[in-house]
Amino acid sequence: MRKRYMPFRSGKKHFKTFVVKCVCFILGRGLQAASRVDADVRREIREWIPEGFTILFKVWPEGPRLGLESRGGMLRFRGTSLDDADLVIYFKNIDNAFMMFTAQMGVPQAFAEHRIFVKGDISVSMSLIRCLNIVETHLFPPIIYRRILRRPPSMGLKKQFCRLYIYLVGIPIGI
Protein backbone atom coordinates (compact mmCIF):
# COMPACT_ATOMS: atom_id res chain seq x y z
CA MET A 1 0.00 0.00 0.00
CA ARG A 2 1.31 3.47 -0.89
CA LYS A 3 2.28 5.55 2.09
CA ARG A 4 0.56 8.92 2.20
CA TYR A 5 2.60 11.94 3.25
CA MET A 6 0.62 14.66 5.00
CA PRO A 7 1.57 17.92 6.68
CA PHE A 8 1.98 17.29 10.39
CA ARG A 9 0.96 19.66 13.13
CA SER A 10 1.99 19.09 16.72
CA GLY A 11 -0.78 19.43 19.25
CA LYS A 12 -0.92 21.89 22.13
CA LYS A 13 0.50 21.55 25.61
CA HIS A 14 -2.75 22.48 27.31
CA PHE A 15 -1.76 21.77 30.91
CA LYS A 16 1.53 23.72 30.80
CA THR A 17 -0.12 26.58 28.92
CA PHE A 18 -2.89 26.74 31.54
CA VAL A 19 -0.38 26.76 34.43
CA VAL A 20 1.78 29.44 32.77
CA LYS A 21 -1.30 31.61 32.13
CA CYS A 22 -2.33 31.28 35.79
CA VAL A 23 1.16 32.16 37.03
CA CYS A 24 1.30 35.13 34.62
CA PHE A 25 -1.82 36.45 36.30
CA ILE A 26 -0.55 35.83 39.84
CA LEU A 27 2.90 37.22 39.07
CA GLY A 28 1.46 40.28 37.30
CA ARG A 29 -0.78 41.14 40.19
CA GLY A 30 1.96 40.22 42.64
CA LEU A 31 4.41 42.62 40.98
CA GLN A 32 1.74 45.32 40.93
CA ALA A 33 0.99 44.88 44.62
CA ALA A 34 4.67 44.64 45.62
CA SER A 35 5.35 47.90 43.79
CA ARG A 36 2.74 49.47 46.09
CA VAL A 37 3.89 48.11 49.44
CA ASP A 38 7.46 46.82 49.23
CA ALA A 39 10.03 49.58 49.72
CA ASP A 40 12.78 47.69 47.86
CA VAL A 41 10.59 47.25 44.77
CA ARG A 42 9.52 50.90 44.92
CA ARG A 43 13.18 51.97 45.07
CA GLU A 44 14.05 49.83 42.04
CA ILE A 45 11.23 51.38 40.01
CA ARG A 46 12.14 54.91 41.09
CA GLU A 47 15.82 54.47 40.21
CA TRP A 48 15.70 52.34 37.06
CA ILE A 49 12.31 52.11 35.35
CA PRO A 50 11.15 55.30 33.59
CA GLU A 51 7.56 56.55 33.73
CA GLY A 52 5.40 55.04 30.99
CA PHE A 53 7.89 52.21 30.36
CA THR A 54 6.21 49.01 29.19
CA ILE A 55 7.37 45.49 29.98
CA LEU A 56 6.25 42.21 28.49
CA PHE A 57 6.99 38.63 29.46
CA LYS A 58 6.09 36.48 26.51
CA VAL A 59 6.38 32.85 25.49
CA TRP A 60 7.80 32.79 21.95
CA PRO A 61 6.26 33.06 19.40
CA GLU A 62 2.66 33.81 20.42
CA GLY A 63 2.18 32.01 23.73
CA PRO A 64 0.96 33.28 27.09
CA ARG A 65 2.08 36.76 28.03
CA LEU A 66 2.19 39.15 30.94
CA GLY A 67 2.25 42.93 30.41
CA LEU A 68 3.28 45.63 32.88
CA GLU A 69 3.53 49.38 32.70
CA SER A 70 5.37 51.80 34.97
CA ARG A 71 2.95 54.51 36.05
CA GLY A 72 3.06 56.84 39.05
CA GLY A 73 6.14 55.09 40.48
CA MET A 74 4.38 51.72 40.43
CA LEU A 75 4.07 48.78 38.09
CA ARG A 76 0.55 48.38 36.67
CA PHE A 77 -0.56 44.95 35.52
CA ARG A 78 -1.68 45.17 31.89
CA GLY A 79 -2.75 41.54 31.52
CA THR A 80 -2.45 40.30 27.95
CA SER A 81 -3.18 43.67 26.36
CA LEU A 82 0.38 44.40 25.19
CA ASP A 83 1.64 43.03 21.87
CA ASP A 84 5.04 44.68 22.11
CA ALA A 85 6.83 46.69 24.79
CA ASP A 86 9.97 48.72 25.54
CA LEU A 87 11.42 45.65 27.25
CA VAL A 88 10.41 42.17 26.21
CA ILE A 89 11.58 39.05 28.04
CA TYR A 90 10.97 36.05 25.81
CA PHE A 91 10.79 32.45 26.94
CA LYS A 92 11.98 30.30 24.06
CA ASN A 93 9.16 27.80 24.58
CA ILE A 94 6.32 26.89 26.92
CA ASP A 95 8.41 24.28 28.75
CA ASN A 96 10.99 26.90 29.73
CA ALA A 97 8.24 29.22 30.99
CA PHE A 98 6.67 26.32 32.90
CA MET A 99 9.99 25.45 34.58
CA MET A 100 10.58 29.05 35.62
CA PHE A 101 7.03 29.78 36.71
CA THR A 102 6.84 26.63 38.79
CA ALA A 103 10.09 27.59 40.56
CA GLN A 104 12.08 24.71 39.13
CA MET A 105 14.74 27.27 38.18
CA GLY A 106 15.51 30.91 38.88
CA VAL A 107 16.12 33.74 36.44
CA PRO A 108 19.96 33.53 36.58
CA GLN A 109 19.89 29.84 35.72
CA ALA A 110 17.29 30.33 32.98
CA PHE A 111 19.43 33.11 31.50
CA ALA A 112 22.61 31.03 31.81
CA GLU A 113 20.89 28.15 30.02
CA HIS A 114 19.66 30.38 27.16
CA ARG A 115 16.06 29.61 28.06
CA ILE A 116 15.08 33.29 28.00
CA PHE A 117 16.26 36.23 25.94
CA VAL A 118 15.77 39.95 26.24
CA LYS A 119 14.82 42.67 23.74
CA GLY A 120 15.53 46.18 25.00
CA ASP A 121 17.65 47.94 27.60
CA ILE A 122 19.52 45.35 29.67
CA SER A 123 20.00 47.71 32.66
CA VAL A 124 16.21 48.00 33.10
CA SER A 125 15.90 44.24 32.80
CA MET A 126 18.42 43.86 35.65
CA SER A 127 16.22 46.00 37.87
CA LEU A 128 13.13 44.07 36.81
CA ILE A 129 14.86 40.82 37.71
CA ARG A 130 15.63 42.17 41.19
CA CYS A 131 11.92 43.08 41.54
CA LEU A 132 11.00 39.60 40.36
CA ASN A 133 13.32 38.03 42.94
CA ILE A 134 11.65 40.05 45.69
CA VAL A 135 8.16 39.05 44.53
CA GLU A 136 9.23 35.41 44.41
CA THR A 137 10.15 35.63 48.10
CA HIS A 138 6.61 36.88 48.78
CA LEU A 139 4.88 34.30 46.61
CA PHE A 140 6.86 31.16 47.40
CA PRO A 141 7.70 29.51 50.74
CA PRO A 142 11.36 29.73 51.89
CA ILE A 143 12.06 26.11 50.96
CA ILE A 144 11.43 27.04 47.32
CA TYR A 145 12.86 30.53 47.01
CA ARG A 146 16.06 29.55 48.80
CA ARG A 147 16.67 27.08 46.00
CA ILE A 148 16.23 29.53 43.12
CA LEU A 149 17.74 32.74 44.55
CA ARG A 150 21.49 33.30 44.81
CA ARG A 151 21.08 35.23 48.06
CA PRO A 152 17.71 34.77 49.77
CA PRO A 153 16.72 37.86 51.77
CA SER A 154 15.85 37.89 55.45
CA MET A 155 12.08 38.20 55.85
CA GLY A 156 11.41 40.71 58.65
CA LEU A 157 8.04 41.95 59.90
CA LYS A 158 7.67 44.49 57.10
CA LYS A 159 8.25 41.81 54.49
CA GLN A 160 5.69 39.57 56.18
CA PHE A 161 3.18 42.41 55.94
CA CYS A 162 3.97 42.78 52.24
CA ARG A 163 3.41 39.06 51.75
CA LEU A 164 0.04 39.22 53.51
CA TYR A 165 -1.02 42.25 51.47
CA ILE A 166 -0.04 40.56 48.20
CA TYR A 167 -1.93 37.37 49.01
CA LEU A 168 -5.02 38.92 50.62
CA VAL A 169 -5.45 42.12 48.60
CA GLY A 170 -3.01 42.39 45.70
CA ILE A 171 -3.74 39.15 43.90
CA PRO A 172 -7.49 38.70 44.58
CA ILE A 173 -8.56 42.32 44.20
CA GLY A 174 -5.80 43.70 41.99
CA ILE A 175 -4.79 46.81 43.91
Binding site: E47, W48, V88, V107, P108, Q109, F111, A112, E113, H114, R115, F117, V118, K119, G120, D121, I122, S123, V124, S125, M126, S127, I129, L149, R150, R151
Partner: protein, 394 residues
Amino acid sequence: MLPSYYEFYNPVKILSGNKAVENIPFELDQLGARRPIIITDRGVAGAGLVRIIEKAFADTTLSIGAVYDETPPDSSIETVNTIAGIYRKTGCDSIIAVGGGSAIDTAKGVGIVITENSEDLMKFMGAEMLKKTMKPFIVVPTTSGTGSECTLVAVISNPAKNVKMAFTSYKLLPNVAVLDPRMTLTCPPKITAATGMDALTHAMEGFYCNQKNPMSDAYAGAAIELVRDNLVEAVKNGKNENARLAMANAACMAGTAFSNSMVGMVHGLGHAAGAVCHIPHGIAMSIFLPFGLEYNSVKAADPIGRLLVHWGGFDEYMKTPVAQRPARTVELVRAMKDTLYGLCGLPRTLSEAGVPREKLPEIAKTATGDGSLLLNPEELEYDDALRVLNEAYA
Protein backbone atom coordinates in the same frame (compact mmCIF):
# COMPACT_ATOMS: atom_id res chain seq x y z
CA MET B 1 30.12 18.65 36.41
CA LEU B 2 28.08 19.22 33.25
CA PRO B 3 25.48 22.00 33.32
CA SER B 4 21.91 20.73 33.02
CA TYR B 5 21.81 22.46 29.61
CA TYR B 6 24.22 24.58 27.60
CA GLU B 7 24.75 26.00 24.13
CA PHE B 8 28.02 26.61 22.31
CA TYR B 9 28.56 28.21 18.91
CA ASN B 10 31.69 29.36 17.13
CA PRO B 11 31.64 29.33 13.34
CA VAL B 12 34.56 31.76 12.95
CA LYS B 13 37.34 30.56 10.65
CA ILE B 14 40.70 31.37 12.24
CA LEU B 15 43.74 32.24 10.09
CA SER B 16 46.71 32.34 12.43
CA GLY B 17 50.39 32.86 11.77
CA ASN B 18 52.95 33.98 9.25
CA LYS B 19 51.52 36.10 6.38
CA ALA B 20 47.95 35.33 7.44
CA VAL B 21 46.79 38.71 6.10
CA GLU B 22 47.83 37.73 2.57
CA ASN B 23 45.01 35.14 2.54
CA ILE B 24 42.25 37.74 3.02
CA PRO B 25 41.45 38.18 -0.73
CA PHE B 26 41.07 34.41 -1.13
CA GLU B 27 38.77 34.23 1.90
CA LEU B 28 36.66 37.11 0.55
CA ASP B 29 36.36 35.31 -2.78
CA GLN B 30 35.22 32.19 -0.93
CA LEU B 31 32.55 34.30 0.73
CA GLY B 32 31.40 35.65 -2.65
CA ALA B 33 32.71 39.18 -2.04
CA ARG B 34 34.80 41.36 -4.37
CA ARG B 35 34.92 44.83 -2.86
CA PRO B 36 35.39 45.28 0.90
CA ILE B 37 35.38 48.45 2.95
CA ILE B 38 38.17 48.67 5.54
CA ILE B 39 37.11 50.11 8.90
CA THR B 40 39.94 51.19 11.17
CA ASP B 41 41.21 54.12 13.25
CA ARG B 42 43.91 56.74 12.84
CA GLY B 43 46.36 55.05 15.21
CA VAL B 44 46.23 51.79 13.26
CA ALA B 45 46.46 53.56 9.90
CA GLY B 46 49.31 55.76 11.19
CA ALA B 47 51.25 52.68 12.28
CA GLY B 48 51.17 51.46 8.65
CA LEU B 49 49.02 48.41 9.42
CA VAL B 50 46.35 49.21 6.82
CA ARG B 51 49.10 49.33 4.20
CA ILE B 52 49.84 45.65 4.97
CA ILE B 53 46.21 44.79 4.20
CA GLU B 54 46.18 46.93 1.05
CA LYS B 55 49.30 45.19 -0.25
CA ALA B 56 47.61 41.82 0.21
CA PHE B 57 45.20 42.77 -2.58
CA ALA B 58 48.01 43.30 -5.12
CA ASP B 59 47.84 40.93 -8.10
CA THR B 60 44.27 39.91 -7.31
CA THR B 61 41.02 40.66 -9.11
CA LEU B 62 39.47 42.07 -5.91
CA SER B 63 39.61 45.74 -5.00
CA ILE B 64 39.20 47.75 -1.79
CA GLY B 65 36.09 49.93 -2.07
CA ALA B 66 37.00 52.42 0.68
CA VAL B 67 39.16 52.86 3.77
CA TYR B 68 37.50 54.58 6.75
CA ASP B 69 40.19 55.44 9.32
CA GLU B 70 38.39 57.85 11.62
CA THR B 71 36.73 55.44 14.03
CA PRO B 72 36.66 57.12 17.46
CA PRO B 73 37.73 55.29 20.68
CA ASP B 74 34.03 54.77 21.57
CA SER B 75 31.91 53.33 18.76
CA SER B 76 28.94 55.59 18.15
CA ILE B 77 25.77 55.51 16.08
CA GLU B 78 26.84 58.57 14.05
CA THR B 79 30.08 56.89 13.00
CA VAL B 80 28.22 53.70 12.14
CA ASN B 81 25.72 55.54 9.93
CA THR B 82 28.47 57.61 8.26
CA ILE B 83 30.39 54.46 7.36
CA ALA B 84 27.21 52.73 6.16
CA GLY B 85 26.68 55.70 3.79
CA ILE B 86 30.23 55.36 2.43
CA TYR B 87 29.73 51.58 2.05
CA ARG B 88 26.63 52.07 -0.09
CA LYS B 89 28.03 54.99 -2.10
CA THR B 90 31.23 53.14 -3.02
CA GLY B 91 29.43 49.89 -3.92
CA CYS B 92 31.13 47.76 -1.28
CA ASP B 93 29.91 44.23 -0.62
CA SER B 94 31.84 43.20 2.49
CA ILE B 95 33.57 44.55 5.61
CA ILE B 96 37.10 44.23 6.97
CA ALA B 97 37.62 45.59 10.49
CA VAL B 98 41.23 46.35 11.39
CA GLY B 99 41.86 47.47 14.95
CA GLY B 100 40.83 46.94 18.56
CA GLY B 101 37.42 46.67 20.16
CA SER B 102 36.13 50.01 18.91
CA ALA B 103 36.84 49.43 15.21
CA ILE B 104 35.44 45.90 15.42
CA ASP B 105 32.27 46.94 17.27
CA THR B 106 31.78 49.82 14.82
CA ALA B 107 32.11 47.34 11.94
CA LYS B 108 29.53 45.08 13.58
CA GLY B 109 27.20 48.09 13.85
CA VAL B 110 27.74 48.88 10.16
CA GLY B 111 26.91 45.27 9.39
CA ILE B 112 23.58 45.62 11.21
CA VAL B 113 22.67 48.91 9.47
CA ILE B 114 23.55 47.55 6.02
CA THR B 115 21.89 44.18 6.48
CA GLU B 116 18.73 45.36 8.21
CA ASN B 117 18.60 48.47 5.99
CA SER B 118 17.70 50.63 8.98
CA GLU B 119 19.55 53.48 10.67
CA ASP B 120 17.60 53.01 13.90
CA LEU B 121 19.84 50.59 15.78
CA MET B 122 17.78 51.03 18.98
CA LYS B 123 15.18 48.56 17.79
CA PHE B 124 17.77 45.79 17.53
CA MET B 125 19.07 46.25 21.10
CA GLY B 126 19.15 43.16 23.26
CA ALA B 127 19.70 39.50 22.49
CA GLU B 128 18.87 37.55 19.34
CA MET B 129 17.09 40.45 17.63
CA LEU B 130 18.92 40.05 14.32
CA LYS B 131 17.43 37.61 11.84
CA LYS B 132 19.22 38.31 8.56
CA THR B 133 22.63 36.96 7.64
CA MET B 134 25.28 39.70 7.68
CA LYS B 135 27.47 40.74 4.77
CA PRO B 136 30.83 38.93 4.57
CA PHE B 137 32.85 40.15 7.55
CA ILE B 138 36.56 39.69 8.25
CA VAL B 139 38.31 40.94 11.39
CA VAL B 140 42.01 41.65 11.79
CA PRO B 141 42.68 42.49 15.46
CA THR B 142 45.60 44.82 16.23
CA THR B 143 45.44 44.33 20.00
CA SER B 144 45.34 41.04 21.89
CA GLY B 145 42.60 41.52 24.41
CA THR B 146 38.99 42.17 23.45
CA GLY B 147 38.55 38.93 21.55
CA SER B 148 35.86 40.74 19.54
CA GLU B 149 36.96 38.80 16.48
CA CYS B 150 35.27 35.77 18.07
CA THR B 151 32.40 37.25 20.07
CA LEU B 152 28.73 37.74 19.40
CA VAL B 153 28.64 41.09 21.20
CA ALA B 154 28.77 44.71 20.03
CA VAL B 155 28.43 47.84 22.16
CA ILE B 156 27.66 51.10 20.37
CA SER B 157 26.90 54.39 22.10
CA ASN B 158 23.98 56.63 21.26
CA PRO B 159 25.11 60.07 22.55
CA ALA B 160 21.78 61.72 21.66
CA LYS B 161 19.92 59.39 24.04
CA ASN B 162 22.91 58.92 26.38
CA VAL B 163 22.77 55.14 26.23
CA LYS B 164 25.24 52.42 25.39
CA MET B 165 23.40 50.02 23.14
CA ALA B 166 24.36 46.38 23.65
CA PHE B 167 23.69 43.86 20.92
CA THR B 168 24.20 40.14 21.25
CA SER B 169 23.49 37.91 18.30
CA TYR B 170 25.18 34.96 16.66
CA LYS B 171 24.79 36.93 13.41
CA LEU B 172 27.46 39.34 14.70
CA LEU B 173 30.19 36.70 14.67
CA PRO B 174 32.66 37.41 11.86
CA ASN B 175 33.22 34.88 9.08
CA VAL B 176 36.99 35.02 9.42
CA ALA B 177 39.44 36.22 12.10
CA VAL B 178 42.99 36.91 10.95
CA LEU B 179 45.72 36.61 13.60
CA ASP B 180 48.92 37.90 12.03
CA PRO B 181 51.84 38.68 14.36
CA ARG B 182 52.77 41.75 12.26
CA MET B 183 49.48 43.39 13.23
CA THR B 184 50.26 43.61 16.96
CA LEU B 185 54.03 44.29 16.86
CA THR B 186 53.58 48.06 17.23
CA CYS B 187 51.25 47.86 20.25
CA PRO B 188 52.93 49.79 23.14
CA PRO B 189 53.89 47.88 26.35
CA LYS B 190 51.20 49.38 28.58
CA ILE B 191 48.41 48.65 26.10
CA THR B 192 49.85 45.17 25.54
CA ALA B 193 49.70 44.61 29.31
CA ALA B 194 46.19 46.01 29.73
CA THR B 195 44.72 44.12 26.77
CA GLY B 196 46.49 40.94 27.89
CA MET B 197 44.86 41.25 31.31
CA ASP B 198 41.55 41.81 29.53
CA ALA B 199 42.02 38.50 27.71
CA LEU B 200 42.97 36.81 30.99
CA THR B 201 39.79 38.18 32.60
CA HIS B 202 37.64 36.88 29.75
CA ALA B 203 39.15 33.45 30.17
CA MET B 204 39.02 33.37 33.98
CA GLU B 205 35.49 34.74 34.31
CA GLY B 206 34.40 32.46 31.48
CA PHE B 207 35.87 29.58 33.49
CA TYR B 208 34.01 30.19 36.75
CA CYS B 209 30.82 32.13 35.93
CA ASN B 210 27.40 30.54 35.69
CA GLN B 211 27.19 29.94 31.94
CA LYS B 212 30.43 27.94 31.85
CA ASN B 213 30.34 24.68 29.94
CA PRO B 214 32.87 21.99 28.93
CA MET B 215 33.50 23.57 25.52
CA SER B 216 34.11 27.08 26.86
CA ASP B 217 36.29 25.61 29.64
CA ALA B 218 38.58 24.05 27.03
CA TYR B 219 39.07 27.39 25.25
CA ALA B 220 39.40 29.34 28.51
CA GLY B 221 41.97 26.99 30.04
CA ALA B 222 44.16 27.05 26.92
CA ALA B 223 43.89 30.85 26.73
CA ILE B 224 44.98 31.23 30.38
CA GLU B 225 48.07 29.10 29.77
CA LEU B 226 49.03 31.16 26.71
CA VAL B 227 48.69 34.38 28.71
CA ARG B 228 50.71 32.90 31.58
CA ASP B 229 53.55 31.92 29.26
CA ASN B 230 53.62 34.93 26.92
CA LEU B 231 52.20 38.14 28.37
CA VAL B 232 55.31 39.23 30.26
CA GLU B 233 57.53 38.51 27.24
CA ALA B 234 55.17 40.44 24.90
CA VAL B 235 55.32 43.44 27.25
CA LYS B 236 59.12 43.24 27.71
CA ASN B 237 59.94 42.55 24.09
CA GLY B 238 57.18 43.75 21.78
CA LYS B 239 59.06 42.63 18.67
CA ASN B 240 58.94 38.97 19.71
CA GLU B 241 56.61 37.61 17.02
CA ASN B 242 56.08 34.29 18.78
CA ALA B 243 54.89 35.96 21.98
CA ARG B 244 52.68 38.34 19.97
CA LEU B 245 51.08 35.51 18.01
CA ALA B 246 50.56 33.51 21.19
CA MET B 247 48.82 36.49 22.81
CA ALA B 248 46.66 36.99 19.71
CA ASN B 249 45.63 33.35 19.96
CA ALA B 250 45.01 33.70 23.69
CA ALA B 251 42.71 36.69 23.16
CA CYS B 252 40.86 34.90 20.37
CA MET B 253 40.38 31.75 22.43
CA ALA B 254 39.34 33.75 25.49
CA GLY B 255 36.84 35.60 23.26
CA THR B 256 35.42 32.30 22.05
CA ALA B 257 35.17 31.10 25.64
CA PHE B 258 33.38 34.13 27.03
CA SER B 259 31.15 34.49 23.97
CA ASN B 260 29.70 31.16 25.05
CA SER B 261 29.99 31.38 28.81
CA MET B 262 29.68 35.14 29.31
CA VAL B 263 31.36 37.04 32.14
CA GLY B 264 30.56 38.28 35.64
CA MET B 265 31.14 41.03 38.20
CA VAL B 266 34.67 41.94 37.07
CA HIS B 267 33.16 43.09 33.79
CA GLY B 268 30.15 44.62 35.55
CA LEU B 269 32.42 46.79 37.68
CA GLY B 270 34.77 47.46 34.76
CA HIS B 271 31.99 48.61 32.44
CA ALA B 272 30.69 50.90 35.18
CA ALA B 273 34.14 52.34 35.97
CA GLY B 274 34.61 52.94 32.24
CA ALA B 275 31.23 54.66 31.89
CA VAL B 276 31.64 56.88 34.97
CA CYS B 277 35.40 57.65 34.98
CA HIS B 278 36.51 56.67 31.45
CA ILE B 279 39.05 54.24 32.84
CA PRO B 280 40.33 52.03 29.98
CA HIS B 281 38.64 48.64 29.92
CA GLY B 282 41.82 46.54 30.13
CA ILE B 283 43.12 48.51 33.11
CA ALA B 284 39.77 48.11 34.88
CA MET B 285 39.85 44.35 34.23
CA SER B 286 43.36 44.10 35.63
CA ILE B 287 42.37 46.01 38.78
CA PHE B 288 39.14 44.12 39.48
CA LEU B 289 40.09 40.55 38.47
CA PRO B 290 41.57 39.40 41.84
CA PHE B 291 38.64 40.97 43.67
CA GLY B 292 36.17 39.12 41.47
CA LEU B 293 38.01 35.85 42.10
CA GLU B 294 38.04 36.48 45.85
CA TYR B 295 34.39 37.54 46.00
CA ASN B 296 33.26 34.36 44.25
CA SER B 297 35.69 31.98 45.91
CA VAL B 298 33.02 30.45 48.16
CA LYS B 299 30.23 29.88 45.62
CA ALA B 300 32.64 29.00 42.82
CA ALA B 301 35.42 27.44 44.92
CA ASP B 302 35.78 24.45 42.62
CA PRO B 303 36.29 26.20 39.25
CA ILE B 304 38.41 28.98 40.81
CA GLY B 305 40.53 26.32 42.52
CA ARG B 306 40.91 24.53 39.19
CA LEU B 307 42.08 27.76 37.56
CA LEU B 308 45.32 27.17 39.44
CA VAL B 309 46.30 24.28 37.20
CA HIS B 310 46.14 26.60 34.18
CA TRP B 311 47.48 29.76 35.79
CA GLY B 312 50.03 28.33 38.23
CA GLY B 313 50.98 25.16 36.39
CA PHE B 314 50.61 21.51 37.31
CA ASP B 315 53.30 21.48 40.02
CA GLU B 316 51.81 24.49 41.78
CA TYR B 317 48.36 22.91 41.59
CA MET B 318 49.52 19.59 43.02
CA LYS B 319 51.44 21.05 45.94
CA THR B 320 48.59 23.37 47.00
CA PRO B 321 45.92 21.81 49.26
CA VAL B 322 42.45 21.82 47.68
CA ALA B 323 41.01 24.33 50.16
CA GLN B 324 43.82 26.81 49.46
CA ARG B 325 43.73 26.67 45.67
CA PRO B 326 41.29 29.59 45.14
CA ALA B 327 43.38 31.85 47.41
CA ARG B 328 46.61 30.76 45.69
CA THR B 329 45.06 31.58 42.29
CA VAL B 330 44.28 35.09 43.54
CA GLU B 331 47.82 35.47 44.88
CA LEU B 332 49.33 34.58 41.54
CA VAL B 333 47.03 36.98 39.66
CA ARG B 334 48.15 39.73 42.05
CA ALA B 335 51.77 38.74 41.42
CA MET B 336 51.18 39.22 37.68
CA LYS B 337 49.69 42.66 38.37
CA ASP B 338 52.81 43.61 40.37
CA THR B 339 55.08 42.36 37.58
CA LEU B 340 53.19 44.41 34.97
CA TYR B 341 53.26 47.47 37.22
CA GLY B 342 57.03 47.09 37.46
CA LEU B 343 57.43 46.63 33.71
CA CYS B 344 55.15 49.34 32.34
CA GLY B 345 53.30 51.05 35.20
CA LEU B 346 49.97 49.28 34.64
CA PRO B 347 47.77 50.57 37.51
CA ARG B 348 47.01 48.03 40.26
CA THR B 349 44.39 50.05 42.13
CA LEU B 350 41.65 52.53 41.30
CA SER B 351 43.66 55.30 42.98
CA GLU B 352 46.67 54.54 40.75
CA ALA B 353 44.29 54.71 37.77
CA GLY B 354 43.26 58.22 38.83
CA VAL B 355 39.68 57.42 39.84
CA PRO B 356 38.35 60.00 42.37
CA ARG B 357 37.13 58.29 45.55
CA GLU B 358 33.85 60.26 45.52
CA LYS B 359 32.92 58.54 42.24
CA LEU B 360 32.77 55.09 43.82
CA PRO B 361 29.05 55.23 44.78
CA GLU B 362 28.16 56.22 41.21
CA ILE B 363 30.26 53.37 39.82
CA ALA B 364 28.56 50.94 42.24
CA LYS B 365 25.09 52.13 41.21
CA THR B 366 25.93 51.88 37.50
CA ALA B 367 27.36 48.39 38.00
CA THR B 368 24.07 47.10 39.43
CA GLY B 369 22.49 47.74 36.02
CA ASP B 370 25.06 45.68 34.14
CA GLY B 371 23.79 42.46 32.63
CA SER B 372 26.98 40.55 33.42
CA LEU B 373 26.03 40.47 37.12
CA LEU B 374 23.27 38.04 36.24
CA LEU B 375 25.81 35.33 35.50
CA ASN B 376 28.09 36.01 38.44
CA PRO B 377 28.06 33.01 40.82
CA GLU B 378 27.49 35.21 43.88
CA GLU B 379 24.83 37.93 44.12
CA LEU B 380 26.30 41.45 43.93
CA GLU B 381 24.10 44.24 45.27
CA TYR B 382 24.90 47.93 45.61
CA ASP B 383 26.50 47.65 49.07
CA ASP B 384 28.63 44.71 47.97
CA ALA B 385 29.78 46.56 44.86
CA LEU B 386 30.71 49.61 46.92
CA ARG B 387 32.69 47.49 49.38
CA VAL B 388 34.64 45.83 46.55
CA LEU B 389 35.29 49.22 44.95
CA ASN B 390 36.65 50.58 48.23
CA GLU B 391 38.95 47.58 48.52
CA ALA B 392 40.09 48.03 44.91
CA TYR B 393 40.72 51.74 45.53
CA ALA B 394 43.43 51.41 48.18
